[in-house]
């Protein structure tokens, strides 16, 4: 633009402020965890730098198994989630291509998609709690089996939840990560002209699925690499799901770190810090390993891409239908189970439905529920508003000054999602204690912002950039200032994506466990921290109450985000 405008000249401050808000806590967190890992923490008498804590860590009897478990569950969960998401996306684009509504199997995928995508909003912990009841030896599946076929008087002596191999942990992660990756792939498909490539493939004699694999996937993958990395890093360092579904003796590394932090003997904090550094190294190592494998697979497959074999891969169709339905069914039953438990007075084994229903569980916990729900709402809404403000500022900066968001900035947005939470949050907590900032609301909101802002940005960026640029232009020619254009043209036109992004940001905030625990210094109880802490207890009714409400919160936000624009623009046909 040839001219500078006063309000526009303030815009460059937004990306700079955002970068500072991001890099400062992450750098401080890494710093704060590295010092105690090297023995330096004056408050606890560590005045010298040395490597003894690391040798202590490596000699810890639980460590080798914990490391193995962490890598196994994290990598397998990522591979499974990615494969399932790719499979389902391939089937979905095949359906939109043929547009055959009569074929039952194809419409099944539309149902799977419609069911799976909203699962993104369900907090990990709620899903894990529901799943735990579903697959437990005395859980719903066994009860139905017993009721229908087996007639088991007592629960079978299987170990399903918290199994030593972390299989239920993997399942719980796959349940949450597949919908996320599926959404990312579907978004990426719109950026490349996928349907045209499939048509070309078909006209050259390749089947639909094979065209997808050979022509579309190689183009899509680079676009979803960062989300895949985020899934891998998350799976390696997840705490809440691992606490609920993961093995206990020994647990995964992140849970082990949490145990050391909670140890009454404060000197265990040194060990926890060293463990957190190790977790960071494991995550970075896994990301590099994954990138290298990508490259290797691509090299191996280059020939396969152009070997001219047309082949038939129709078997995958059934596999996709089966696994997609299985995922959707499991997720649905998990949440339904939570709802049932929250409303049951007595529900002993082997009954498939509660013996007596009651609202007593809700009434008994009402006052503490209100309090935790309010804290959850407060943090989520305030964080969401700050994040929206920053994101809109960054996007406006991009448009008015016609600078493109660089790849570097995109990596920075993903940084909090790539570095293990346990690592830098522990460091932040250690520094915050020193600065007497721990347990403050400011720190809590700031820590949530690190995870909320990236998702809000990623949701809002495309709709914002795709808004017909002629609307703001004609606004300018009608004499409207940039600020007036923002508030009277852009924000109203983008009301729906704006609210959806806010709802997703809110859902992310609701789901945060470790940030709430660490940055909140244990002083703020949200629905998630309460639900996870009750998970250790045996009362499934209380778990049901907290878990269900936790799952309900983001849903309400999402429903509002969809309903408000519909109501607001009920008389505006072009926007419905």
């Amino acid at each position: 633009m040839a001219t500078t405008i006063r309000t526009v000249s303030l815009l460059p401050a937004f990306p700079i402020l955002t970068q500072l808000l991001f890099l400062l806590p992450i750098a401080a967190g890494l710093f704060g965890v590295l010092l105690p890992a090297l023995g330096y923490l004056p408050d606890l008498g560590g005045n010298q730098f040395h490597f003894e804590i690391f040798s202590q860590l490596l000699e810890h009897p639980a460590l080798p198994h914990a490391v193995w478990l962490t890598l196994f569950s994290g990598i397998i969960a990522t591979i499974l989630s990615l494969s399932l998401a790719v499979l389902l996306a391939a089937m979905l684009s095949r359906e939109s291509l043929t547009g055959n509504k009569k074929n039952k199997k194809t419409s099944l995928f539309a149902i799977i998609r419609r069911g799976l995508i909203p699962l993104i909003a369900v907090p990990h912990a709620a899903m894990a709690l529901g799943l735990a009841f579903l697959v437990a030896p005395s859980g719903w599946i066994v009860r139905w089996l017993s009721f229908l076929f087996m007639g088991w008087e007592t629960p079978p002596e299987w170990v399903t939840v918290q199994d030593p191999f972390g299989l239920s942990l993997i399942f719980g992660l796959v349940l949450k990560e597949t919908p996320y990756l599926l959404l990312m792939i579907l978004a990426a498909l719109q950026q490349i002209r996928a349907q045209e490539y499939i048509r070309i493939g078909q006209s050259l004699g390749y089947g639909n699925s094979l065209s997808w694999l050979k022509l579309v996937l190689p183009q899509v993958y680079p676009l979803i690499r960062l989300p895949v990395f985020a899934v891998l890093a998350f799976s390696l360092s997840v705490v809440d799901v691992a606490l609920i579904l993961g093995p206990t003796t020994p647990p995964t590394l992140s849970v082990l770190i949490l145990r050391w932090i909670d140890d009454p003997d404060l000197s265990f904090r040194f060990l926890a810090s060293a463990g957190a550094v190790l977790l960071l190294l494991l995550t970075l190592g896994s990301l590099i390993f994954w990138r290298f494998s990508e490259w290797l697979i691509f090299q191996k497959c280059r020939n396969w891409l152009s070997n001219g074999k047309r082949g038939n891969v129709n078997e995958v169709h059934n596999l996709a239908a089966l696994s997609g339905s299985l995922l959707l069914g499991t997720a649905f039953l998990s949440l339904l189970g939570l709802a049932f438990w929250s409303l049951s007075l007595r529900w002993p084994y082997p009954l498939v439905l509660p013996q007596r229903w009651t609202s007593r569980n809700w009434e008994r916990h009402w006052s503490s529920l209100q309090e935790t729900a309010f804290t959850t709402l407060e943090v989520g809404v305030i964080t969401g508003i700050i994040a929206l403000f920053l994101v809109v500022g960054c996007l406006e900066n991009e448009q008015w000054r016609s600078v493109r968001f660089s790849l570097r900035s995109q990596w920075m947005l993903y940084l909090p999602l790539l570095i293990p939470q346990a690592t830098f949050l522990l460091g932040i907590q250690i520094l915050a204690v020193r600065m007497e900032m721990d347990g403050t609301f400011l720190l809590l909101v700031w820590s949530h912002l690190l995870f909320v802002l990236p998702y809000i940005f990623l949701t809002l960026a495309d709709p914002w950039r795709n808004l017909d640029a002629r609307f703001p232009k004609i606004g300018q020619c009608l004499g409207a200032s940039p600020l007036r254009i923002l508030f009277h043209i852009k924000l109203p036109l983008l009301l729906k994506p704006l609210l959806v992004a806010a709802a997703i940001g809110f859902a992310v905030s609701v789901a945060q466990y470790l940030p709430t625990l660490f940055a909140g210094g244990g002083r703020f109880a949200t629905l998630t921290t309460e639900a996870v802490s009750y998970a250790a207890g045996a009362d499934r009714r209380v778990i049901g109450v907290y878990g269900f409400l936790q799952a309900l919160f983001p849903w309400i936000a999402l429903l509002l985000a969809l309903a408000i624009p519909r109501w607001r623009f009920r008389n505006r046909a072009a926007l419905l």
């Binding site: 020619c477 109203p492 008389n571």
Partner: protein, 207 residues
Amino acid sequence: MLKLENISLKIDGNPLFSRLNLEVNAGQVTTVMGPSGCGKSSLLAHLCGTLPSVFQTSGKIILHDRTLDNLPPHERKLGILFQDDLLFPHLSVGENLAFALPAKIRHQERRDKIEQALEEIELSGMYERDPASLSGGQRARVALMRTLLAQPEALLLDEPFSKLDQELRGRFRKQVFAHAVKNRLPTLLVTHDPADAKAAGGDILSL
């Protein structure tokens, strides 16, 4: 009077046109013609100040006594009509017009002005209507009135007739030119349709 002095437009160093000189007097319609891609729409965007920064420009734009080159788009007082009506879909017909009306006109006077404007374009009583429910001709008239209500000092027309059907086109063209004459607006029309240029009746310049 709208005056262009030595206007040159380049993209990536390739000139679209150079050293364009033009004078349009009040109430006069000058037509710029040329095939698509010759830079005629970019010329109008440059006048408005909304040309993307990939273009390099030089020259001087003068409207009455003001030099526009260093003014932000919203202070230039140039009204523009595009091929599409670009009515804001989230506002009602009346609100679309009110968006253009200067803020210093307030309260009842504001509402009266809008009602009067609606009457002038034969849309009386349609303040609350959804623009999406109007016919193509009605929408075009709202777009024209919206541009005029911003009280521009010159009018730029970026092929605003090309998407209308034959019958509507002739009528709307007459309306636009009549308003230009009535408001004594120097008007610059960009088109590739010789019939438009003929109807404009002013100077014709080929790019």
